[in-house]
């Protein structure tokens, strides 16, 4: 575990919108094969951080290094090659509404030269099945799917090219508890069987507990602390303490409840 490969390396990131500074001197490492959960209060720039790594938002300062490539200074070809090695699942799936689910999953595959259209469709069906959707869902349009199914379809598209890294933005937001926990298991299972590195932005303590190997807390414009769930419970920063020891946390983290059950209500 000590010499794990770093796949995402952020150094000195500074993001600002006008005069509002969201990130200042932010450092973060993500290791190969792990599931990293990023948490933080509203407005601490969790999604901005995800967008920064995925190249959708250019930071004012700092360096972003993904799979050994300097994202900010890479030329067009290198960037394209890199983009086929990561997949992003947006909050509501961000599926193209004029295409069926199968066609959506095929979109990234169209960039592969010489891929037979029939094989492409079969592989899309495989990805749709791997994220736990029914076979017939492939023929449906995004507007015909429920929120949970759209998220799954978005994940299938993110996984279309067997990326090394997937970015998930609030994967369980808006799902009912059963759907959310099924999605947690899906992420865990896929990460294990495909050897994925997962960068996951979430508010959901259950998801953190059920899926993440490591948690990074965003506060005070930087990554305040990283570590396992057990480490988080020992941090005495007020926000982190409140977050991991609050009433909602007790339900999600049984041992947390045991330690702090006497406090509060």
């Amino acid at each position: 575990m000590s010499e794990r490969e770093v796949v995402i390396k952020l150094r000195g990131i500074r993001n600002q919108f006008g005069r509002q500074v969201v990130h200042e001197d932010l450092d973060l490492d993500v290791y190969r094969g792990e599931i990293l959960g990023v948490v933080g209060g509203s407005g601490t720039g969790k999604s901005v951080l995800l967008r920064t790594i995925a190249g959708l938002q250019r930071p004012a300062a700092g360096s972003v290094d993904v799979l050994g490539t300097d994202v900010l200074n890479a030329d067009e070809d290198t960037r394209q090659k890199l983009e086929s090695r990561w997949g992003v699942m947006f909050q509501d799936g961000a599926l193209f509404s004029s295409l069926t689910v199968r066609e959506n999953v095929e979109v990234p595959m169209r960039a592969i030269p010489g891929l037979d259209p029939q094989i492409r469709a079969d592989l899309a069906d495989l990805k749709i099945s791997m994220v736990g959707l029914q076979y017939l869902a492939g023929d449906k349009y995004p507007s015909e799917l429920s929120g949970g199914m759209r998220k799954r379809a978005g994940l299938a598209r993110a996984l279309a090219l067997d990326p090394d890294i997937v970015f998930l933005d609030e994967p369980t937001a808006g799902l009912d508890p059963i759907g959310a926990s099924a999605f947690d298991q899906l992420i865990r299972g896929l990460s294990h069987s495909l050897g994925l590195t997962v960068f996951l932005v979430t508010h959901d303590l259950d998801t953190l507990h059920a899926t993440c190997d490591r948690i990074a807390v965003l506060a005070e414009r930087k990554v305040l602390v990283t570590g396992s769930m057990a480490d988080m419970l020992k941090v005495d920063h007020p926000w982190v303490h409140e977050y991991f020891h609050g009433p909602r946390a007790r339900a999600a983290v049984p041992d947390g409840a045991a330690k702090t059950g006497q406090k509060g209500d």
Partner: protein, 381 residues
Amino acid sequence: MAYGGTVMSGGVGAEFILGPADDTGTVHLSGALTIRTVTQARNQLLALDRTTFRRIDLSSVTRLDTAGAWALLMLKADGTNAEIAFVGASAEAQSLLSSVEQALPKPEAPPALDGSFSAWLGRFGQRVFSGLMFLRALTGYLGIFLHRLARALRHPSEFKLTSLVHHCEEVGLKAVPIVALMAFLIGVVLAFQGSTQLRQFGAEVFVVDLIAISVLRELGILLTAIIVAGRTASAFTAAIGSMKMREEIDAMRTLGLDPGMNLFVPRILALFIMLPILGLIANLAGLFGGALMAWIDLGISPAMFTTRLVEGTAVSHVFVGLVKAPVFALIIGVVGCHAGMQVQSNAESLGRMTSNAVVTAIFAVIVADAVFSIFFARIGI
């Protein structure tokens, strides 16, 4: 993912090689078996004589992804070689193979469309029925409008006068430039086309009658209604639809605010008041355009045009034209409000209903115009 220690290269340049089956019935694969080589791999695997091999050796495969695993597993799944075994796979490759095998989709036929005559008749009947239900729903909205209007007469305090004035400005005042320009150009076109034809008979002066009757009776109001349908029905649908989408309508209901009184009445009433005015403006602009072109092209002076207009054109033509305006206004307003209320909670339905509203409103206006024509012909006006 890289297996077997190969440097990650995205598969570019990594070659896939399929060896022939050896004496023990084993086929040796080497190189990268990924989405980039899967087409080649699948075709080569299918081309192998299935009786000559029972095992596939993966020990020299440097890279395997889900696409490659799929190509291997399909040999078993599609019955090409059900007995096949994979040997020499690394632990990761083995785990990938088994996950993909579990997830292999089982194709299901989509529910077939029943092609029999009775099924066709059933679908036809359903469409007719839904068309009738649509008419019923529109009538229902007209009823809501009339009922709330009557209620506003009895309880004037509930009536939203500010809102009415705002919508009068939106649908009426702001439409004046486009409506006037359109009618002016129609007048010009009629004069120009009419003069070329009538000149052949030496009956140029009848161009005045041609312009007056066609603009006053039909074109002025019909084209105004079509422009207003495009402008206003879509605006109604978009405004009400986006409120519906964000549950604002539901919120209004729970707060005791009636959408009929607060949203429909001001909008439809504004259209009801403004469309006749717009029609009148269109009539004037059309006559002005026609007179101008008649003067330039045929030398019919404005004074002569006016004399001819007053003598030759009965005032009933103006009446026949303008009496249609309130009816068109109701059609456009009701269609726009109804379509807005049909919007669901996604953005696609908002766009779809907006364009539906415009098409339906224009179509209904033209149908109503045809009905009016028949009616006036029968009663002889």
